[in-house]
Amino acid sequence: MASAREEILARIRGAGRPSPVAVPRDYERARTVPDPVGLLAERVADYQAVVHTVGEKALPGRIAGCLAERGASTMVVPADVPPSWRVEGVRWRPDDPPLQLSELDIVDGVLTGCAVAIAETGTIVLDAARAQGRRMLSLVPDYHLCVVRADQVVVSVPEALARLEPTRPLTFISGPSATSDIEFDRVEGVHGPRTLEVLIAR
């Protein structure tokens, strides 16, 4: 008997091939807007996330401010975040050696950077590279503080995908965890972090 693989391939080849098609790519691959950073801030806020735009120099102070306001005293960080982000007065738990799941479950939050941010859709993309760490770091803690640099902001989805490496583990985040499963009403906060706070540094 033929293997399932051989049989499925044979069925496809026997199905009578639809004629080949050319894909029209006349949709907009890049879009220009006057203020991409401003648009990102507005669209992220639309998802009920907290957004601040700060100058590069004021960033550490602002990180300290966010954590103080939230009362977050124990925070997870990928080991390779810029040292200036690990501000005084907070117990930092770098993920090196890798933290246990049970440890991630009891900290107050996580601080990460990102790979790309999409202004038009208010999306932040993590690719597990520098300052982002393993995927579970930004998933298990209930509070995610994420730093976006202005040069990481693009306007459209196509521009973002062009910047990403497809074989890395990628997570697209648009606001805090949410559901529309009850009467199609969006409510924030199910299994992922229930609070997303974004610092856009320019």
Partner: protein, 475 residues
């Protein structure tokens, strides 16, 4: 082989009868009307934001047609890419074979419980039941799937399987089955109850099962689009991940995702972007599952591919926009379709996947429509659903003969659905019961239907009228 395809539910009545039962439930109709009205308005808003929406639809259609034209080639590419990145690829001809593969993989891990991300493919093959028969408990983690599972219920919508339930009903279901009662019937409290209920499972379960929204042939990247974070939990925390994917879910290149990641969220949850999208490729050491298995599922898809008109149903990206605009769906609810794929897409996909137009229930589905065309207008991959419906009706007639009682009952149902006035009248008079429901047999329709039942011929269906009425009344 040769087992019945579980894509349609055994023992459900043909659509006319099931629809009649659903119509008698005013609570169901209220729940559905409220939900679909909300989502229709929101969708129109986010679609209007993109000037190039029609061009994106055309690209989406063409990309999927290209996939279908070269399916063997792209599947082999995908297999190669996934293997190169440390994954294992399995092929399954039908539901039974897919279920056996998954059960064996779960047993190999010594697990008696798995966590699941909502997946149409695994619902289609009846995986949960098969696992249970093999001694493995499958825990649904998507909020709506959890509502269905805890309520011993069946799904009624592709995206929101518990859309037929309102908040008060959900509180009662959760209250009866969870250790901790939800604080109230506010959606926020219900979501909180689900979070507490599932948290331990996420952190301790060793095997997860998911579907896939897309897979990129060239890179082996698999994509899961979700909202709650239950998907991320399942895709990153367990040691072993098993993904079951219909063979048509492919896209050829990474670039193609730029089209679908715009089309899908706006069409389905009416958001600029859904909260979470996860993309992974094989296994990444130190990050996520150490074992990744991809099961490629045929289960009637190659047979559908062989139908020149019907094959466009394989472009479907399961956004559910066609359900949300369908006047028939809104009135009957999803369960009347007797399949995991309800609504307009279900009416063309379920009978094709089931592949048996002699089966009365499957054969009745192409009649579950007024041919108003609203589904075609919103479909992000431009599936001409009315065209496929008409085509399948002709095939049903050919398979059964036009004058058999079932064929007549179905044609009568289609006739009633085709005009809202007729429909409201039939409903008020209880006419659907009297004329359509008894054993799926038809006696006489009220005038002018009587002209048709006498003549035993297809009536001229006023194709535009329902749509015009719909627009006027519902905007």
């Amino acid at each position: 082989m040769g087992a019945r395809n579980p894509v349609t539910w055994l023992g459900t009545p043909a659509f006319p009868k099931a629809a009649h039962e659903a119509l008698a439930d005013p609570q169901l109709r209220r729940n559905l009307r409220k939900a679909t009205t909300t989502i229709r308005t929101k969708r129109a808003g986010v679609v209007a934001e993109l000037d190039d929406w029609e061009r994106l639809r055309a690209a989406g259609e063409a990309i999927k047609d290209d996939v279908l034209a070269n399916l063997d080639h792209y599947l082999l590419r995908l297999e190669e890419s996934v293997i190169a990145r440390g994954g294992v690829v399995h092929w399954a001809r039908d539901a039974e074979e897919a279920n056996r593969i998954v059960l064996d993989l779960v047993r190999e891990q010594g697990a008696d419980e798995v966590v699941k991300v909502k997946s149409m493919a695994t619902a289609e093959i009846g995986l949960n039941e098969a696992l249970e028969a093999g001694g493995v408990r499958a825990v649904e983690t998507d909020l709506a799937e959890l509502i269905v599972q805890l309520g011993n219920d069946r799904p009624s919508h592709i995206l929101v399987p518990a859309i037929h339930r309102n908040r008060a009903e959900i509180r009662d279901i959760f209250g009866g089955r969870m250790a901790e009662q939800p604080a109230s019937d506010e959606p926020r409290d219900l979501a909180e109850a689900a979070r507490r209920h599932l948290r331990r499972k996420f952190l301790s379960t060793k095997v997860a099962i998911s579907g896939a929204n897309f897979a990129v042939a060239g890179t082996g990247s698999v994509v899961v689009v979700e909202s709650e974070g239950n998907g991320r939990m399942c895709l990153t925390l367990p040691e072993t991940l098993i993904t079951v994917m219909g063979i048509e879910k492919l896209v050829p290149t990474w670039q193609d995702l730029e089209v679908f990641l715009q089309l899908l969220p706006r069409s389905s949850t009416a958001e600029r972007m859904n909260p979470y999208t996860s993309i992974w490729s094989g296994v990444t050491p130190g990050d996520g599952p150490a074992n990744f298995h991809l099961v490629l599922l045929d289960n009637g898809r190659t047979a559908t591919l062989a139908d020149e008109v019907g094959r466009q149903a394989l472009r479907c990206i399961r956004c559910s926009a066609c359900l949300n605009v369908c006047p028939v769906y809104e009135r009957t609810g999803g369960q009347a379709y007797g399949s995991v794929y309800p609504g307009p897409i279900g009416a063309i996909l379920a009978p094709q996947l089931a592949g048996d137009l002699h089966d009365e229930q499957a054969a009745s589905l192409p009649y579950a429509s007024s041919l108003c065309g609203a589904c075609y207008e919103v479909c992000p991959v431009r599936i001409n659903i009315p065209e496929v419906l008409t085509h399948l009706r002709a095939e049903v007639v050919e398979a059964k003969g036009r004058r058999t009682p079932e064929a007549l009952a179905m044609a009568a149902a289609a006739w009633v659905f085709a005009d809202p006035k007729r429909y409201e009248r039939a409903q008020k008079a209880g006419a659907l019961t009297r004329y359509l429901a008894r054993d799926g047999r038809i006696s006489r329709l009220p005038w002018p239907g009587s002209k048709w039942t006498d003549a035993r011929d297809f009536p001229a269906v006023p194709k535009e009228s329902f749509r015009a009425w719909w627009r006027r009344n519902r905007g």
